[in-house]
């Protein structure tokens, strides 16, 4: 094993490193691919024993995810012939569609709460980060620590008083309540990340703008914000991913109206036992956007996960 070299690493080392890393990446991918594949299996293939790697793809899981079915008797089935391809799929399993499932609503809740809280936290975070970056604020370090520490708190511990507070204020199970809560949690990340981005913008630009007759506020809007645009965008994606993935608060503070997808997906069950293809279909629809975002974000990933401390 040769170690770090001053010039380029040797070809042999590159080869070994490449093979090992690719091997690890492939192993890492298996569970993800299995989730996606299971979404396209029929329910009997999904719980086949031993597991099936080769199978005939079907959209049964997706149909089951978006509809609610009831088991029907033979007469009932013949009375209600299927008219669409998805009714056909359900029909072939001896069932009829009895209405839409709740998945669509839960997914929309995730979107509303995710985007709402992201917008708010990036908006407030940009203002605060600018102030922390440019002005002398008494107890600045303490405030920054205080802001970060709110992110570190165990969600279940925080959930106790939040639950009581929301109950008293009528905010339990509302979109507004969840947006406020996620905003508060995301603010710390937004402030820390954005402060780093704004710190990097040379002050000279603003000073030049001030000399040109801009006010401070105009200089902030017209000079700083455009410069920080990429930073703001990647911060927004990080906030969105957090709100998208959050589970503990969602499971404790929401139920019918404002429940997001993460607490909902594990509770998808079919008629009889658990409908794994539907769970996998829901998981796929839910995870894929984040995978896409991760690929878009790869340049800023490190910064996001270290609260802006490490800049690549």
């Amino acid at each position: 094993m040769s170690s770090y070299s001053i010039t380029e690493p040797s070809m042999r080392l590159k080869w070994i490193a490449g093979v090992l890393v690719v091997l690890y990446a492939l192993i890492t991918l298996v569970p993800l691919l299995w989730i996606i594949a299971t979404g396209f299996k029929s329910s009997s293939d999904a719980i086949a024993y031993p597991p099936k790697v080769v199978f005939e793809p079907t959209l049964e899981g997706y149909v089951n995810l978006f509809t609610r079915q009831t088991r029907a008797s033979a007469e009932q089935l013949s009375e209600n012939p299927p008219t669409t391809w998805y009714e056909q799929i359900v029909h072939d399993n001896g069932m009829v569609i009895s209405g839409p499932s709740r998945f669509g609503e839960r997914f929309m809740n995730s979107v509303i709460i995710g985007f709402g809280s992201t917008f708010l936290s990036v908006f407030l975070g940009t203002l605060a980060a600018y102030a922390f970056s440019r002005y002398r604020i008494p107890l600045k370090d303490d405030l920054m620590f205080f802001i970060l520490s709110t992110r570190m708190m165990p969600p279940i511990a925080v959930a106790i008083p939040i639950f009581l507070m929301f109950r008293a204020a009528g905010l339990s199970d509302t979109h507004a309540g969840m947006i406020l809560l996620y905003t508060a949690v995301n603010l710390s990340l937004a402030v820390w990340l954005l402060k780093g981005f704004i710190d990097e913008i040379p002050r000279e630009y603003e000073e030049a703008a001030l000399i040109d007759g801009y006010t401070r506020f105009q200089a902030f809007v017209k000079v700083v914000l455009p410069q920080a645009a990429t930073g703001i965008a990647s911060t927004a994606i990080f906030c969105l991913i957090f709100a998208w993935n959050e589970y503990a608060f969602a499971v404790l503070l929401t139920s019918g109206t404002a429940q997001t997808a993460p607490p909902f997906i594990p509770t998808i069950i079919g008629v009889g036992g658990r409908d794994w293809p539907a769970v996998a279909a829901g998981a796929t629809l839910f995870l894929v956007p984040v995978m896409v975002f991760t690929i878009l974000l790869r340049k800023h990933l490190l910064r996001g996960i270290t609260f802006g401390a490490v800049r690549k």
């Binding site: 040769s2 770090y4 070299s5 001053i6 080392l13 590159k14 490193a17 890393v21 690890y24 990446a25 890492t28 991918l29 569970p31 299995w34 031993p50 597991p51 605060a128 600018y130 102030a131 405030l143 205080f146 802001i147 970060l148 520490s149 570190m152 708190m153 165990p154 969600p155 925080v158 959930a159 106790i160 008083p161 939040i162 639950f163 507070m165 508060a184 603010l187 401070r216 105009q218 809007v221 017209k222 993935n245 589970y247 503990a248 404790l252 993460p262 607490p263 997906i265 769970v279 996998a280 998981a283 995870l287 984040v290 995978m291 690929i295 990933l301 996960i305 401390a309 490490v310 690549k312």
Partner: protein, 315 residues
């Protein structure tokens, strides 16, 4: 690079507001910018925290609105800190913490070191490796129960393929000895990339010139690794370990979906235990005391973490 949208915002700001903003001193702007954040955090974090501290000295139950609330002093704290079962959940947490950190540092550092060899396509593969850590732990944890099923899950078949054992002969989640490892495996799968990314940043922050100087001094590669690479990456590693430590100390979503704390209470981590006390048994006062204990612990860890953060930042 046009800033028309921002121009529009600036124009859309009513003149009266704009005039008032223009009139503000720097200090006023600073406070106006910071205030909403501070107010929101005070309302959603600090006020509830004070409430929790108050409740932790009472026997309040959130599901019994008609019961009398009594001041019980330190009794809740005494009960929790003398309870062998809570001590046991702490040990389960410790097992989880120690081994996840151990494997994540081991694999994370090794991977970072390998990726730093900059083979062709390393960027693509790095992105692929990073995927699991951005996903929803609850959704992923739920699906892993499926992967772990002895008859129908692929995990047992993969192990059987490598070791030759019968796939139905063991059950990762059902067996008392294996369950603590089942959660370690999933967490390691998810979070190794996190440690890897930070280590990679550490490796890349080492200036080439140091190695060149060492080469001139005829230091062996092995010696260079231990005297240059490791010490230079250490602050970064500290950061990663502290952050993962805090995260796994409060671990809830992944494990609750995976094992639900079972079998028995083998994988009942502290957060899961607290959730049972607070939201299933509804012993709100007692659970508040429990929460305060966790608060203080995390707060202590967080202060060390911020110190490490600043150290790395100033590099």
């Amino acid at each position: 690079m046009s800033d028309t949208a921002l121009d529009r915002v600036a124009r859309a700001t009513p003149p009266r507001v704009a005039r008032r903003i223009r009139g503000f001193s720097d200090r006023a702007i600073a406070w106006i910018f910071v205030a909403p954040t501070i107010v929101l955090l005070l309302a959603i974090n600090i006020f509830p925290l004070i409430w929790t501290i108050y409740l932790s000295f009472t026997n309040y139950r959130a599901n019994r609105p008609n019961a009398v609330v009594e001041w019980v002093g330190f009794r809740n704290y005494q009960r929790i800190l003398g309870d062998p079962e809570i001590w046991q959940t702490m040990q389960a947490t410790a097992h989880f913490l120690f081994w996840t950190l151990f494997f994540q540092v081991l694999f994370g550092f090794a991977l970072a070191w390998l990726i730093n060899a900059k083979f062709r396509g390393s960027n693509l593969w790095t992105t692929i490796i990073v995927l699991p850590m951005m996903l929803s732990p609850a959704v992923v944890g739920n699906f892993w129960t499926f992967l772990y099923q002895p008859q129908i899950g692929i995990f047992n078949y993969a192990v059987a393929f490598v070791t030759g054992a019968d796939p139905s002969s063991f059950s990762m989640i059902g067996d008392v000895r294996l369950a603590p490892w089942s959660i370690v495996i999933v967490d390691t799968w998810m979070w190794t990339p996190f440690v890897m990314l930070i280590c990679l940043a550490g490796l890349r922050s080492i200036p080439e010139s140091i190695y060149e100087a060492a080469e001139c001094d005829r230091a062996s590669k092995w010696r260079q690794f231990w005297t240059i690479t490791v010490p230079m990456v250490l602050p970064f590693l500290m950061l990663a370990v502290l952050f993962r430590g805090i995260e796994n100390f409060k671990m809830f979503d992944l494990v609750v979906q995976l094992t639900g704390g079972g079998p028995g209470s083998t994988t009942e981590l502290t957060s899961i235990n607290l959730k049972r006390e607070a939201f299933e048994k509804w012993r709100t006062g007692y659970a508040s005391a429990y929460a305060v204990i966790l608060f203080v612990t995390v707060f202590g860890l967080a202060s060390i973490y911020v110190k490490a953060l600043n150290t790395v930042k100033n590099r």
